[in-house]
Amino acid sequence: MISPKLVEVGRHNNIELITNSEVKGVDGEPGNFTVTLQNNPRYINPKKCTGCGDCAKRCPASAVNIINKGYNDRRATYIEYAQAVPLAFAIDMDACIGCGLCENVCLAKAISYSDKVKATEVTVGSMILAPGTKAYDPSQLDYLGYGKYPNVVTADGFERILSAGGPYFGHVMRPLDRQEPKSIAWLQCVGSRDTNRCGNGYCSSVCCMYATKEAMIAKEHIHGDLDCAIFNMDMRTFGKDYEKYFLRARDKAGVRFVKARVHTVTENRETGDLNVRYATDSGEMKEETFSMVVLSVGLTIPDTAVELAKRLNIDLDRYNFSKSEPFAPVETSRKGIYTCGVFQGPKDIPGSVTEACAAACLAGSELSGSRGKDIEVVQIPKQIDVTGQDPRIGVFVCNCGINIGGIVNVPAVQKYAESLPYVVFTDSNLFTCSQDTQEKIKEKIIEHKLNRVIVASCSPKTHEAMFMETLEACGLNRYLFEMANIRNQNSWIHSKSPELATQKAKDLVRMAVGRAATLYPMQEKRIPVNHRAMVIGGGIAGMNAALNLGKQNFEVVLIEKEPELGGFARKLHHTIEGGDIQEYIRKLSAEVMANDKVEVLLDTEVTGFGGYKGNFKTDVAVGKGRETRNIEHGVIVVATGAVEYKPKEYGYGESDKIITQVELGDLLEGKGAKDLETVVMIQCVGSRNESMQECSRICCQNAVKNALVIKKQNPDTQVFILYRDIRTYGLMEDYYKEARGLGVIFMRFNSDDPPEVKVEGDHISVITTDHVLQQKVEILADLLTLSAGMRPSDTKKLSGIMKLNSNQEGYYMEAHVKLRPVDMPGEGIFLCGTAHGPKLITETISQAQAAASRAVTFLAKPEIKLSAITAKVDTQHCVKCLTCLRTCPFNVPAFNTETKVIAIDEAMCHGCGACAGACPRQTIQLGFYNDEQITCKIDALLAGGM
């Protein structure tokens, strides 16, 4: 999943990767920082290294493989992991014996033993600190046996055991005897929520989900039955769609979730199995034996990051996370330096990606004045016209060091290629992908007037785009290129049969030549981008998105259906940290109104919609008079928000003594808690039930927040919080602890035994079962507060007009839950705030900044190039069976009711080819992959005689 991101970063023109380096100091001010770097030697020049791996194959010195947690060895000459960027090896000088073998075998001449530490400087306008996290080391917790019993592993170690690139190649085995485990126990909160043994009072936020995931994957990988038990205090599956995953693990996959904390792990010395003893909820002692125990270790800040923060004068909190304000989540204490990811606070991947975009947004708005400067612009020469020419094919066969050449007889393949139709030039290279070979290819294209190019080397997934750029750079249309993968699909898997591999390489080249002859130039349509953004929703999310776009000098139209800005937050008073929400909204809306790039339309609704990415046209009805306006804009930011659920449960509405948390917030802000003797709160009202499976994420902290206000206003008020799992994730765990410290009583109930509520005159009686004493409890309260969950705003009409997809709960869907959390599936449409899912104000702000950032990447372009790889319908032969409409995962094909034909908008088509494959009459063709271009490969294969 992370691989394409790595490749994209590695290849990006405007990203300079400086690896193996540390920031030693920063001088200057925002807009103009001078950063001093210490570049540590890697002893292998990453510009020359092709990643072929011959050095590591020959290296005689071994070292502990740290990335695999020491479960296997690596060589002293090594690459950390298969997807690493840059894909270049390094020498671990602590392990190197100085034999010189790697220098001898390296055909790319990349080895340089004399590399030294260097000091360099870079000048930048703003900085983002993303030093990441380190898993907690449980060695000091002697009672858990890590480091003593081989089959006790940490979760990050188990992650490597599950990985195909890990020590056991993805086969789940336990370290002691490499046997498949029959049962595995996960122990949660190791190094988190513990102020006694490790001082990490916070919740690491991610362990409940990763433990569940690891259990699910382990069950998939293991043949036969595997018993998985997760020992936990609270299951914190609070993210979008996480509760559904938890339920699937529990109810479908049979993962056991045990509410208990194990005291001690002991080992059976004969079998290596592990015994755990624990007290059940009822106080009964149980003993179980597991083949393996996985410690769900928490997230910590590495010492190196703490030192970096000190050098840079960045304030840290008591757990060493970067200090931030609730309304400025990605800003550090030093102006112009931003942060994201776990260094900001414990969080998962979507949260980290969102924050990364938010940090990029703020870092960029600081520099928006100089946008377009200091970047590399690729100059593309005019295209050579090849129409009417017979194919003149050039074939470049790659040795890939010895990766291909060591198995496949490359000269024989090259000679064979010469004999194929239309081939006028052949060549072979040590590394076809190296920079100097690109220059050579260009020369040969011009010299031999080549009009089709084939590279027989590795995978088009990683290299096709680069070779296509080489073609473009000498005027050849990029779609006149074809690849034959004679490495991944040949030499690597047939290394024991060189002759057959050579034969297969010839077959693959012949197929490529067959297809190359059928290729024709295709032009990528360029469409201009309208540089105005439309933001829908004027709450905290919409206002932040609009403001940040305005600050980056883009025109914004902000639409709000209510007569004033602020959204649902107008009903809220303080964040759990104490931030004044009303004051924040006042300032924020004043800033939005004052920004001359942002036009605010209040009392306004969307009534019509058309167009496509970069060129949307939206009709809106403005103000009381419902005056219609047509707005042209390039992007959309959806920020329609959410509201508090109106409970049907627990007698809500029957008594003014039964209120919601938001109403309690008003009460505490107004007359306060001085008259209250006992307050009961019930969690998960309208969440985690049959009609709303998902967790509403914010209610636990909301209850704790209000309980703290009560206790501070009136210490004598008794507060009881009836809950299912307390989900005060991340740093909010401290507030949960504070609430307990002030005497708030937390009582857990099961969903099948919910509390009973009776209105008795002036009082409310709540009957529940205390989970510890296992006894009925009757609490006499003068106020019952329901922690009502969140519901998305009613956007049915809007979604219908703009064709925006939402999930079954009604929250809008993102393009990719992990990697693209603020992009919607349709290009040019972005998403933020509670319209995406329940979240805190702090999280909403960073997501809004993230959406603005993503929108800017679109708006900053003068025009966009549409891929030529799109589907086209032959309307003459189409029978309008609508199969394509049902097949397309992006809902692009549409039946035009006026012209009565099926239309596939090329601006919206993703080029996946699903419709072309499904069309029963073959009336849909996908550019670059039309039927002839595929069948000719099969013909060419068969022509060789199987």
């Binding site: 006694n196 194990v262 005291h263 007290a279 106080g283 307990r740 009583i745 510890v772 009925k776 009757e778």
Partner: protein, 244 residues
């Protein structure tokens, strides 16, 4: 535990036992911080006795169920091993809670045998819960030593000194050994002899039993500790070796 439903809520009770114990302990013993995770009960040797365990007991205290707490005999089953606080993520001082609840029970209602042992210890100057006198102890030690010096020539010059001034270690001794199993004293003598260290018993305040601690008789426990400390000082020993 209570019959029927536990009644909670209404007006806050004046002050519960837990409130009072919290005032005595540093950081209130973290008694309020319980996550109800059960790690304490999972590792406690007294879990399940009388249907009670550490987590439940703390819970009753937190819910202000003072009457039930005072009635329960469970606190007397705690061995004060501290396995609970060792792993408790909140470092809740359950042993101290137990101790302070024991101390709140009228002395005549505490376990009879232990009370009698404490009383016996307080009677003589040896602090022996079995009432062993200075002379008896001296006789047994010398007698046993003589036997071993004779029977095992390699230990012919082994010592078991009493009131040796300026010895490095002051060793205490549970009185069960000199009274009922005198041979059991010898292995430790041998170790100390082989290690070549200088040690001594005291003729007074040598007994190691902690019965006054177990019945939470703070006053007598304090007296005992003073007598032991005085003896160590009198002999000028540097280290007090507690064998109990």
């Amino acid at each position: 535990m209570a019959e029927g439903a536990i009644k909670l809520g209404g007006k806050k009770k004046k002050s519960t036992i837990m409130d009072m114990v919290k005032e005595i302990l540093p950081d209130g013993g973290n008694l309020n911080a319980c996550l109800t995770c059960g790690a304490c009960s999972s590792g406690c040797p007294a879990t399940g006795l009388e249907g009670m365990d550490a987590r439940k007991f703390l819970r009753m205290a937190a819910l202000g169920m003072d009457e039930e707490i005072m009635k329960s005999n469970w606190p007397w089953m705690c061995t004060m091993c501290q396995r609970c606080i060792y792993v408790c993520p909140m470092k809740i001082d359950i042993p101290q809670l137990i101790f302070n609840i024991r101390s709140r029970r009228p002395r005549d209602q505490r376990p009879k045998g232990i009370v009698a042992s404490c009383d016996m210890a307080m009677k003589g100057e040896t602090l022996s819960a079995m009432g062993t006198s200075v002379e008896d102890f001296q006789f047994v030690v010398e007698d046993v030593l003589g036997e071993y010096q004779e029977a095992q020539p390699e230990f012919a010059d082994m010592e078991a000194p009493i009131d040796k001034k300026g010895a490095e270690f002051f060793l205490n001794q549970n009185s069960r050994e000199p009274v009922t199993e005198p041979d059991e004293m010898v292995p430790l003598w041998k170790i100390l002899h082989t290690a070549g260290v200088s040690w001594t018993y005291g003729s007074k305040a040598w007994a190691a039993e902690n019965y006054c601690l177990f019945i939470a008789d703070t006053e007598n426990w304090k007296k005992m500790l003073h007598q032991q400390a005085d003896m160590v000082h009198e002999l000028g020993c540097k280290t007090y070796l507690n064998t109990e």
